[in-house]
Amino acid sequence: MKEKALKMKAINSYAKMENDLNSNLLPVYPDPEFIKSLGKRLLGSKNIQIENPNHGLAFIFIGLGLFVGALFVWLFRRIDTT
């Protein structure tokens, strides 16, 4: 009998706790300005991308540099022989 009463008391206290939680833990509403500005920042950020290095252009410049260098060497040698 006493056990049953204790059990009932526990059930009632849980029910009261649930009721308190339901009535007190209400959703909160964030500042609409925050929602708006975060959305803007988020969706604007994907457009900013780090540029991929252009390897083709690098090869052209290196090739051109080597060619010009070789041309100078050839010209100097030609001048020396004459």
Binding site: N24, L25, V28, P30, L38
Partner: protein, 192 residues
């Protein structure tokens, strides 16, 4: 109209670089994530900061998210949970005091006026809630603030529905004890 588009399609599109699709997902979940973080931290500024971090992280990794039986919302809650855990860890390192003791006796939860009546009962309840282990706080917030079912909570917390049910009962019991401690703080001292 946006409500009718399901998450799966939006996630696919967002993964393919469709910003508008991610924007719809953002609008759909930002308030829920904010609520969760807000109740975990009890501070508007931190809630805004961490909510921003959750969505930046989700935005960066949307391509890697694949639907392995985990809804998009559960994925977001997990990110939020991890960020809140990191936040608590950093905070405890800096202050080197128990998290329980960080709440002043006057209780300064800066809830927006429109959202919650600053009643003494609510103060006591939330103060008691914040004394619970993080896992139990998470369960209570997801159930009562977000209104999720045990099954949905299980997906977020990586537990079975039965495990959530059992954890829920233990949580109610420990919350009841914490409320008593908050209501009668001198009782414990007297016993000692």
């Amino acid at each position: 109209m946006n409500d009718s588009i399901d998450d799966v399609k939006l996630i696919q599109d967002a993964g393919n670089g469709d910003n508008e699709a991610f924007g719809i997902l953002y609008e759909r979940y930002v308030r829920k994530i904010y609520n969760y973080i807000y109740y975990r931290t009890g501070n508007v500024n931190e809630a805004e900061d961490l909510t921003a971090k959750v969505f930046h992280r989700a935005f960066r990794h949307i391509e890697t998210y694949n639907q392995r039986g985990v809804p998009f919302s559960a994925w977001l809650y997990r990110i939020a949970h991890n960020l809140v855990a990191n936040w608590y860890r950093d905070r405890s390192r800096k202050k080197e005091v128990a998290l329980d003791e960080q709440l002043p006796s006057s209780y300064q939860f800066d809830f927006p006026e429109s959202a919650l009546e600053k009643s003494q009962e609510a103060e006591k309840l939330i103060k008691a809630l914040r004394r619970l282990p993080p896992e139990r706080q998470q369960l209570v917030i997801l159930k009562f603030v977000e209104g999720l079912s045990n099954m949905e909570i299980g997906l977020i917390m990586r537990k079975s529905e039965g495990a959530i049910k059992s954890l829920y009962h233990r949580t109610l019991e420990s919350l009841r004890k914490e409320v008593e401690k908050v209501e009668h703080p001198n009782n414990r001292k007297k016993k000692k």
